[in-house]
Amino acid sequence: MLKNIAAVCLLAFAVTPALAQGEKPEKVLKIISSLPRTGSANAQTTTMVNGIQLAIDEVNGKVGDYTIVYEDMDDASPQRGNWDPAVEAQNANKAARDESVIAYIGTFNSGASKISMPVLNKAGLLMISPAATYPGLTKPGKGEANEPKIYRPTGKINFFRVVPADDLQGFVAAEWAKDMGVKKVYILDDRELYGKGIANVFENHAKEIGIEVLGREGIDPKASNFKSLATKIKAAAPDMVYFGGTTQNSAGQIAKDLHTANATPKFMVPDGCFEKAFIEAAGADNVNGSAYITFGGLPAEKLTGRGAEFRAAYKKKYNLKENEEPEGYAVYGYEACKVLLDAIPKAKTKDRAGILQAVSETKNYNGALGIWSFDENGDTTNTTMSGNTVKNGEFEFVKVLGK
């Protein structure tokens, strides 16, 4: 009996190296993106994924002798119709465990970044977000007292973003409101990290520049209508209502109910609503000329230089018609991937640590978003913002907003 067991063990030991020989690891670098692909954010995230794919195709899927493999992961669940903390945590863990993954492009929602950042930080995995704009993710002093330390358990920075943060967006939104002659504002938020954060920034700056804040409320995103809230706002008679939140958290329904109650002449929202799904959810008539949207960048048709080249390449590759444009965030998906692909050749070692180091040293990068660098917090030095409105069911660029 013992002899048989010994024989089997010897056989196993003999065979294993032979098996291992056959699996010599290919030189593969894997990029994962974690974006809400289910739910109404799908239209935005599809253009972002298209942008990432375009960046990879422009280098023909290879950097040096490494093949780039890309996986598009979904961090939303059908039950929520929106990003899901459990799914995001699952994606982050999967990426951290897979040795061939060298970068994580995500997330779209700031609340999701909050969940995956610590996990990826411990794994030393590079994370580039094309859209998470909550300031506390990178900037000390702009969020809660212990942010962003809690997102960086190892103390090293692994989170970068190519989009300007909300401390800028909320600031310029308040300035824009003042420019438009708004004296009294009613502020709402969707009680999530991103929405509440930007509403706070807006409120603080609005008070600083002399706009009276008539009220500040958190809404219930699952409510069937907001008619009672609209009545309350109508009674307060503000010049504008500011809603910090995303389309998925009922921005459209609020716009609809405010308009049918004739509660206020202006409705301003941040970049979480800068998507066609917002106009569709609200109904084009209800936001025509009365909705104002800030965006951490320029709409696609206003991009210049490399940005215009991106737009042309995107329209060609994805067969867009003459008057169709990629959604606002497409260029951010593209830029996040492009800055990564351009940094890989500069990395001393083609592993997580080397690539992370190379990306963090990005300075004066000439990309689709202009010439920009990553600063010491992982933020972009780019501060271009735009103010847009809605006319006849389409977004219309109004002006560049700046500090």
Binding site: G39, N42, P78, D220, S228, T231, K232, Q253
Partner: protein
Amino acid sequence: MNPATHGSICETLVAMIVSQAVVSESVAPVAMGWGDVLSQQLITGVSNGMIIALIAIGYTMVYGIIELINFAHGDLCTLGSFLALTLVGALGMEAWAGLGGTAAVITLLISAAVFCGALNWTIDRVAYRPLRGKPKLALLVSAIGCSFILVNIALFWGGLPMEVFGGGNQAAAPKDFPSLISNENLLGAKSAITVTWRDLFVVIVTVPLMIGLTWLVKSTRLGKAMRAVAQNPTAAALMGIDVNRVIGSTFLIGGALGGFASVIYALYNNTISFQMGYRTGMDAFTAAVLGGIGSLPGAVVGGIVIGLVRALSDGYIEARWTNSVVFGILILTLVFRPSGILGAKLREKV
């Protein structure tokens, strides 16, 4: 009355009802006093409440007759709304003007009612009838299963490649439901209080339905059979009542009422989504329990109470607390009156 003026008055009324215009010029908002705000909140509360009441009746009827909380009912109403939107798109109802608009609304109401009634009857036949006489828990789990199936059907339905559904690539996004009923303020554009045709529409449809249902339950043979089965199914069977047929009819009627509610909901809120069944179902079930589960007037009272509480809480406290307030009131009511506001005192069966 002079026939000529009668005709033109009718036409004007009809035109007002069905004009699709949302008030498009932004009139400067009129100042509202505290009395105006209160009245407005009450109007909103009652309108919302009546929709909840109509759905609550579905829950209470089914509970009364087989002691099952039909969790799938809220999601059934979701499917009714989706059917309505499909018809709007397929038949191009947005373009129907004048009398055509009234015809559109009536078509939607009837189709959704028939569809939901039939679907509810089918669910009973397939998922609940085989479990008659089995432990109640099995029935409850079956209901929850049906709820999940219906939600996912709605999710797929939202992906239909029709323009009304946003082109078909946004299955999970909420859908804008076209305004087939005018939003014009009946009290004049200068009035501080807004009462629109939509608020009236809710009342015009729900009140006759409730009166009709009460008549059905009190004065017809089917109603008597339903009450008998609710009281004691075995005795009812001994009296020659086909218990399964009566239960099936109950589901049919409850479902039809849910269908009416789904169209009213869609026309009142102008938005439908595959998840709306969760919230409306929760509200309606709470209303049914609050009013006394098994009691029809109780469901109506419960629905209106919930609608009013939501409106007043949103208006005077803050939307964040509304859910806590609603369920707090539910708990308080059940602590002091365990069978609900209008519920019959339960006798312990020894």
